[in-house]
């Protein structure tokens, strides 16, 4: 692992609530190294999306800051792509699937054969045949896959993903996980993934950052010592995998985990 690519420095965020200000993030700090894959997990409403928006330069933190290669982020950096949690709103309804994927590529001189790149991305997320459909002609899961395809085709140096697999079935999810890992390796991306799925966090990451309930702080950071090459079946059969999953579970719950069987079930929920 090389130098720190991304630094989240004491970020705090307070919103105007209904009656009084809502402190969403108390104080969160962690770093992501070049080419690292970091997952962020935490309870619903703890500020994961907010944090991602701060890192992407889409919203300023109330206090603290985020740095990319040591430079404070105030605007979305060009080498970064985001898969938004609210995928339906992030797709442009006036563009087809292909149009949505091609749009960010317009200015990318460094990507030759854009049409082919887009077609490959569409194919890779299992949407071959739907390139000319509009987002509103697709199911929820299909829309979410368009958003993923767009981000992958963009080949960013840094990829931020906010629960990108929430709306797809288990099989598709596993395929997409492997797709992201594969693309990440091929194009040397640094990835920050927000997920509610503990297995997914462990399976995909080099490190897992666990956030507390709001006002949130970093509750724990776990380094995932699994072999770099992951496989849906063999990796998940490893004892280390089971140990890590339990460790994340414990970090979230702040208590001892139940039996492995139940943990798997609950965590998988």
């Amino acid at each position: 692992m090389s130098a720190q690519l991304l630094e989240v420095v004491d970020v705090a965020k307070t919103f105007d609530g209904a009656h009084r200000p809502v402190k969403a993030i108390e104080r969160v700090g962690f770093t992501v190294a070049e080419d690292e894959f970091v997952s962020v997990v935490g309870p619903s409403g703890c500020g994961k999306t907010t944090l991602l928006r701060c890192i992407a330069g889409l919203a300023p933190p109330t206090t603290g800051c985020t740095l990319l290669r040591g430079v404070p982020v105030t605007e979305p950096p060009p080498e970064l792509a985001v898969v938004f949690q609210d995928y339906a709103r992030s797709l442009f309804p006036w563009l087809t699937v292909r149009g949505n994927i091609l749009l960010p590529l317009r200015r990318r001189r460094d990507i030759p054969g854009k049409e082919r790149t887009a077609a490959e991305a569409i194919e890779a997320v299992g949407l071959a045949g739907f390139a000319d459909h509009y987002p509103w002609q697709l199911s929820g899961g299909m829309q979410q896959r368009v958003a993923i395809a767009r981000a992958l085709a963009y080949r960013p140096r840094v990829l931020l993903m906010d629960e990108p697999f929430a709306s797809v079935d288990a099989q598709t999810r596993a395929d997409l996980e492997d797709l992201v890992l594969e693309v990440r390796r091929r194009f040397r991306m640094t990835v920050l993934l927000v997920t509610h799925d503990i297995d997914e966090a462990v399976y995909m990451s080099d490190r897992v950052v666990v956030l507390s309930r709001p006002p949130s702080v970093v509750k724990e950071e776990l380094t995932v010592g699994l072999p770099a090459d992951r496989h849906q079946i063999t990796t998940k059969e490893l004892r280390e995998f089971a140990r890590l999953r339990t460790a994340v579970y414990v970090a979230i719950k702040g208590q001892e985990a139940p039996s492995p069987q139940a943990t798997a079930a609950t965590a998988g929920g």
């Binding site: 928006r53 992407a56 330069g57 889409l58 605007e75 979305p76 950096p77 060009p78 970064l80 792509a81 985001v82 938004f84 609210d86 339906a88 709103r89 992030s90 797709l91 442009f92 309804p93 006036w94 563009l95 749009l103 960010p104 317009r106 200015r107 509009y134 509103w136 767009r150 963009y154």
Partner: protein
């Protein structure tokens, strides 16, 4: 304006009336509406309500219109009006849409222009007739000036509202993928604003027509309005109403053209999606 949503979806209930869904429905229903209105006019004109007045019956006016349609002078008037309207609309669109989008997306621009825009918007062009004649003469230029002055604001305001209609999710996406300012205008702001601009265009095109005719009438530049002025001073009420009806018919024609264009450019839009999916 062809809606995507079925009546039930919008009204929240199944409407009791028969669903008219055959192909020619727009034309047939439209004509039915016109027939209904004409019948209403005929009744009003023939009953006591306004019988003592100068409102001629629909049939009388229709007869006059048919007579006028055979005269080249009538078509010269129509042609002149539509030419002036066309030039005026072109300038209006060219100025208002970019200006409105800019005002809607850059707060500083809006604040800088707001005093002028909000002050000039309610200034009646017709009240500036002496100034207009002094500046542009008794000519087409005057009419075009008044058309632009009268309709540019409403379209600009529509475009401004449209530009503010960009969904935050879409905006964030565009920003995070580093779309340039120009790309954002073309691929994000413009499509988001299009529904408002489409409505604004329909409003402005009718306003422009009204102003064209009004300006011709007042300034005395060739066109339907000028013919109206002559009919008016001559006391030829039937001719006058025939010309008024003609301006309404032009309004329908203009509407048809614009909604056709709209259907082309707003195919993706909620309002244009197929009604009850087969």
């Amino acid at each position: 304006m062809a809606s995507a949503l079925s009546e039930e979806e919008v009204l929240g209930m199944r409407s009791p009336q028969i669903h008219v869904t055959f192909r020619g429905a727009p034309v047939v229903l439209g004509l039915a509406g016109v027939a209904l209105a004409l019948a209403g006019w005929e009744v009003v004109a023939r009953t006591a309500l306004v019988s003592a007045s100068d409102l001629p019956s629909a049939s009388l006016v229709a007869g006059e219109l048919v007579r006028q349609v055979g005269r080249p002078a009538f078509w010269a008037g129509v042609g002149a009006t539509m030419t002036q309207w066309g030039i005026g609309m072109l300038i209006t669109v060219a100025v208002a849409v970019p200006a409105g989008l800019l005002m809607g997306s850059v707060e500083a621009v809006w604040r800088a222009l707001r005093p002028v825009v909000e002050f000039l918007r309610p200034v009646p062009g017709m009240a500036l007739i002496p100034l207009t004649v002094l500046l542009w003469g008794l000519s087409t230029a005057s009419v075009v000036f008044l058309i632009v002055f009268g309709s540019v604001w409403s379209l600009a305001v529509a475009a401004m509202y449209g530009a503010r209609n960009v969904d935050e999710g879409a905006r964030d996406t565009a920003r995070s993928y580093g779309l340039s300012r120009l790309e954002r205008v073309r691929w994000l702001v413009l499509p988001s604003a299009l529904p408002f601009i489409a409505t604004g265009l329909r409003v402005a095109s009718a306003t422009a027509l009204i102003i064209a005719i009004g300006a011709e009438l007042v300034i005395g530049v060739a066109g339907l309005g000028h013919d109206m002025a002559i009919a008016q001073t001559a006391g030829d009420v039937v001719h006058m109403y025939a010309l008024i009806v003609m301006s309404g018919i032009l309004g329908i024609a203009v509407h048809l053209v614009f909604s056709g264009v709209e259907r082309r450019f707003l195919r993706w839009h909620q309002s244009q999606r197929p009604a009850v999916p087969a």
